[in-house]
Symmetry: D2
Subunit: 341 residues, 4 copies
C-alpha cells in the first residue's frame, strides 16, 4: 500500500544522507557550534536576505515552537492563534506546560485575521485581571493547507507592530508555501514581515531539522541557553548544519517543495469537479470529503488519515504529498477515485 | 589536531548510517510508531531482560531527563542528586524550568551514597514547609567517569524503595559503565534495581538517540503524551529504531564501549604513575591535572577541555575517548605526555 | 454614590470582626494549624456532611483554583471549562502559568453540559498528540449568575466518573447558589457530587477566606505542601478559622447569602417586565441591558460595572448585591430605573 | 505556657484592628485599587524616600517572593542565595515550581558575600549549558537573625549592578533589622541599594501583609497582572492599605520592632555569658544551644522550636520575640534559665 499519510513517511533525500556519510568522521565541537552549521546559517542568510538575523537549528516543530514562545512571554502574557493552530491542537499542551496561555480565535480558511488580533488585544489590555497578549502565532502553510497572501501577512505584521506583539511564523511547511502556485510572498519577505520564523526541513527532505530565524533583536540574547533549558540542543547538531547546507546550497529545498505541491495539484485538479474539498488545495495537503464506502475501498489501496466524520455517510480525509511522492502512485490514486464518480 | 574533546566528535558508526540508507524509502507511520522501533524495543527487552518494561526513544540526554523527571514529580516534590549531577550543572536549569527542585548533596567520587538519600529524605519529611523528595537521580558512569559497584546500586535502590522514591539512572554513558574492567553490574541488573534508566546511544556510536526503559508501572501511563508535551517526539522516530536495533542486534553497542574504555585505560595505565588524576580512571573519561606549560603545549597537538584552574600553576583537564578514537592517536598522546615526565 | 459594583465592597460582617478581636491575643501555632481552624473544619464537616473530607482555608479564589488544579493535573493533562469560566477569563493565565491547559466549550447560560465533556474527552483520548482531559471545572453560581439544578450537577459528576475526570466546583458564590429560590441542590450534595469544591467566604461576609473541601482521596496526600509551594499558606491562618467558625456555627453564612439574593430578586422582579436581562436572575448577580443614556444617568447615582457594548445604543451592565446591601438603596435603584420605563 | 515560637503568635496590634473596624463599611473598589492603599503607599514613599518606586501589597512572604522572582527571571536564568535562604529551605520549592533555579552558596553568619556572587556569576557566564544568574536574594534580617551592615549591603548592590543582576531584599523582618542596636542602614538606604525589597508586616504587628517596593524601572510594567497570575491579588486588598497606613503614619512599625528587639536583647544579654549561642543575637531571633535535660524542662513552661540536634546531649533551639512579647514573660524565661547555670 502506498502512503499519502504524511510528508515524513520516508527518511531523507539521498543527497542529504550522502553528505552526512561524507562528513561522518570530521571531528568538530558539539552542540551545533561547528563549521557545518556556520555554512548552513550563511547560506540561509543569503537566500532569505537576513544577514543580521540569528539562526538556530532544531529537530522538531513542537520543540521549536515551545522554545521560542516560552522565550517571548512572561507569566501573565499569552500568544494569539487560530483554533486550528498546531500549538493549540496537536502539541499535548506543550506551550501551556511552559507556563503560557494560548488565546484562540476561529480560523478563516485556516488563517488568522488582523482584525481578530486587534479585537483580542484591546479587550485584554483593558482589564488587569486578564492575560495580556504579547505574541501572535501563524502557520505558513496553515494547518488546513492554505497559504497567506503577501498583503495578509503584511497586515498581520503591521497590527503586531502597532501593539508591540511578536509575530512568529511556524514554517513547518514553508517550502510548500513559498513554491505554491498562488503564492506572492517572496523568500526575502519572511525576515521583513515577522519577528521570528522557522524553515521546516523535516517535512521537506531533511532527516530531521527546522531552522529558526530570529529577526527581532529582543529575541536574541542568550538564546542558546534557552534552547539548552528546553532540551533543544543536540550533541550532533552538525547533522542539521549538513542537512540545511545541502538543502539550500543550490535550492534543492525549493525543488523538493515544488514537486510536493505539483503532486497535490495534480490530484486536486483532476478531482475537484467531482469531489468535495474542505479547502481549496493550495499546497501539499489535500482535505477532501468521501462517502464512507469509497473511503473503505480507498483504504485497501492507500494509506491516509481520517479527519472527522461529516455525517453518517461521509468522512473528511487528509492526503499529503511530499518530496518523495511518486507520480505513478498519484496517477493510480486519481484513477482509483475517478472510478467512483 | 586530533580531538579528545568528547565522545560525540564524529557522527555515527558506519553500520548505523548504512542501515539508515538501506531503509530510507520504507514508508512508515511517524513518531516512532513503526516496526523499526518495535524491533529495537524487542531486542533491548531481550538483552536487558525487561520484557515488561516500556521503552521510548529520545534524541538527547537533557530532553530525556526533563521528560521523565517532570513526569515523576508533583509541584512540591523534588529529586535528590549529587552536586556534580548533569541535571544540576549542565542543563541550564531545564529541570527547574519544568517546575521541579533538585536537592543536591556533595558527591563522593562522583557518586551518591544511600545514607545521603536517607538523611535528606527524613529531614524534609518532618517539615511541611519543605519540598518533599520523591525521586533520586544517579548517573552511570558518573560525571567524573567513575562507576557504581553493584552493591552500591542495590543499596541506593533499597533505600529508594524504603521511602517510596523513584530511582532514575542516567545512562548517557551506560555502555562504558557496563563494559568497564571493574564493573560487576550485569546488564540485566538495570531493570531490577531502578525504576527507570536510559541507554545512551549518542555517546556510543549512534547518530542521535537515547533509549528510556521504564520499569515501574506508575511511570507508564500516557507517557507518549508526556513526551509530546515536552517536545520529545520526532516525525522520523524510526531513525532511532534503526539505530538501536543495529546497536544491539549483535552487541555492537558493547563492542564500541569496550573500545572506548580500552583507549582510556591505555592512557591512564601509561601515565598514572607520573601524572596526577582527579579520579581513578574507570571508564572513558579521564580527568588529569597538568602543569600549565605542559597544557599549553598539549593544546597545540590535541583538542580537549579544561575543567578548572587548580592553582596558579596547574589546571585540570578532561580527555574523552570514544568508539571512534584511533589507537594511533592515543599512542601519540601518551608519547607526547611521556616527554614531560 | 452607592455601589453595586461587587459583593466585596465592604470588609466583613461585624460578628466576624468581633470574633477576631476577641481572640487577638490567643497564642497559637501558625499556618492554620490551630484550634480555631480545627473548630471551623469540624463545623463545616457537620453542616456539609463530609466527615471524611479534608478541608483547607485559602484567602482568595484564584489562589484556590490554581493550587487545586495544579495538584490534579500532570503536564500533558488539561481541565475542561466553559468559555466564561473565571479560570479562563479573569485569572491572568494563572492556571497556564502553573503549566496546565484549559479546554473551553461554549457556555449554555453560563453552564457546562455533560455532553460537552463527553465529546471533548473522547476526541482528545483518540490522539496521543493531544492534551488529555483529567479535570472539569464548574462554578456555582456561574459567572453569569445562573445556577445548576441538582440533576445537572449529578449528570456532570456521572460523566466525570465515567471517564476518570475530577470534578471541581468553584463556589466563590456558593452561599448564593444554595439559598437561591430555584435551587434544589442540598448542602450535603456537594460532597456527594464533586471531587473537590470550595465554599466562598470573601463574597459572603468574611473578610478574606475560601474553604476548600477535598472529597476524593486521590487529592489529599501532602496537600499542605502543595499549598505552601503555591504561596497559599498564611502565618495568621487562624483568622480564617475564626471567620468560618463564625459563619457556620449558627448558619450566618446562609442568612447573609439569602439577604444578598433577596436584594437581587427585588430588583429583578421589579424591572424584568420593562428591561432586558442577559440571563434570568437566579442569584446575586444581575446582568441587564441599558440604553446608553440611561446608563449614563445611572452612573451618576450608583456604582456598577459595564460588561460590554451591545450595539451603538445599548450596553450590558452588571449589578451585584451582597450581604451588606442596604434595602433602601435597592429601592432607590428600582425607583430610579422605573423612571425610564 | 507562654510562646516564644514565632513573631506571629498573636493576630494584630490593636490599633490596626481598630482601623479595620472603623472603615468596615466604606465602600471601595476591590483588589487594592482604593484610597486606603493609596494613602499607605504615599506614607511608605515618604518614609523610605522612594517617590518613584511602585508599591504593592501582598499577604505572605512566600507569595511575595515567588511573584517577584518569577517576574525577574527567564527560563534559563536563576537567582543566587545562601543555603539557609528562606526561598531555598522553607518554601516547598515554590520558586522552582514557577520554573526557576536557585543557586546556593554557603552562608557566612546567615549572610551572602559579594565575592560569592561574583564567583558564581563568572563561572556560569562562561558556559552556555549552565543556568545564567540574573538575580540575587538576601534576607534582612537573615534567617539566622543576623543583620547586614551598610557597607555589606552596598558592596552586594555594587556587584549586582556590575553584572546586571537584580538585588531583591526579603524584608520579612525588616523592622527588626532597621531598629537593631548594631544597625547602620538608614530606612532610606533600601530604595538606594536594592532593585526591589519588601517591608514585612505580618511579623511586626500587622494581621497579614507585606509591602513590596519596586525601585528598578525594568520590574514595573504590568506588575498587577503578574500578581493576579500568581494568585496574589485580594478582593479586600484595602485591608492591607489600612494596616500599612496605620503602621507608618506615626512610626508604630518601628516602635513595635524596637520592642521586639529589646525583648531579645534582654534575654541574650542576661544569658550570653552562661549559654552558647549559634549566632550573636542582633535582632528578634535567638538561636541558642541547650543541654537536652534543660530543654525538656524549659518545654514544660515555654513554647519554642527545636532547630537541630547538636550531639547526643545538646540541641539548638530558636526563641522569637515580637511586638506582642510581654516583658514579664521574658523575665520569667531568663529566671528559669539562670537556674541551670
Amino acid at each position: 500500500m502506498y502512503s499519502f499519510l504524511n510528508d515524513y513517511n520516508e527518511i531523507a533525500h539521498e543527497r542529504i544522507l550522502k553528505a552526512i556519510i561524507e562528513n561522518n568522521y570530521v571531528q568538530t565541537y558539539g552542540y551545533g557550534e561547528d563549521e557545518f552549521c556556520e555554512n548552513a546559517k550563511n547560506i540561509i542568510k543569503q537566500k532569505f536576505e537576513c544577514e543580521n538575523s540569528d539562526i538556530y537549528f532544531f529537530m522538531a516543530g513542537t520543540q521549536t515552537n515551545l522554545t521560542i514562545i516560552d522565550y517571548m512571554l512572561k507569566s501573565y502574557e499569552c500568544v494569539i492563534a487560530t483554533d486550528t493552530a498546531h500549538i493549540n491542537v496537536h502539541e499535548a499542551s506543550a506551550i501551556e506546560a511552559c507556563g503560557h496561555k494560548i488565546i484562540t480565535v476561529p480560523n478563516k480558511n485556516g488563517k488568522l485575521l488582523p482584525q481578530q488580533i486587534e479585537k483580542i488585544y484591546t479587550k485584554h489590555l483593558s482589564d488587569d485581571h486578564m492575560t495580556l497578549p504579547k505574541a501572535v502565532y501563524i502557520s505558513e502553510t496553515t494547518e488546513l493547507g492554505t497559504i497567506y497572501k503577501k498583503q495578509e501577512l503584511v497586515d498581520i505584521y503591521n497590527v503586531c507592530k502597532k501593539y508591540g506583539l511578536y509575530l512568529f511564523v511556524d514554517g513547518a511547511r514553508l517550502g510548500s508555501a513559498l513554491t505554491a502556485r498562488e503564492n506572492d510572498i517572496k523568500i526575502t519577505d519572511l525576515s521583513k514581515y515577522s519577528d521570528v520564523f522557522y524553515i521546516g526541513g523535516t517535512k521537506n527532505g531533511a532527516m530531521l531539522g527546522e531552522a529558526l530565524v530570529i529577526n527581532n533583536e529582543d529575541l536574541k540574547p542568550n538564546f542558546v541557553r534557552q534552547m539548552k533549558c528546553k532540551g533543544s540542543i543536540y550533541a550532533k547538531g552538525k547533522v542539521q548544519g549538513i542537512e540545511f547546507y545541502e538543502l539550500f546550497k543550490d535550492d534543492l529545498y525549493f525543488e523538493l517543495a515544488r514537486h510536493s505541491n505539483h503532486m497535490a495539484y495534480k490530484i486536486y485538479d483532476s478531482l475537484k469537479d467531482d469531489y468535495e474539498f474542505l479547502e481549496k488545495v493550495q499546497s501539499n495537503q489535500i482535505f477532501m470529503i468521501l462517502k464512507n464506502d469509497i473511503l473503505e475501498e480507498l483504504g485497501k489501496e492507500f494509506v491516509f488519515s481520517k479527519v472527522e466524520s461529516i455525517d453518517e455517510n461521509k468522512t473528511s480525509i487528509r492526503l499529503v504529498t511530499s518530496w518523495a511522492t511518486k507520480e505513478e502512485e498519484v496517477d493510480k490514486l486519481i484513477k482509483f477515485l475517478k472510478k467512483y464518480i
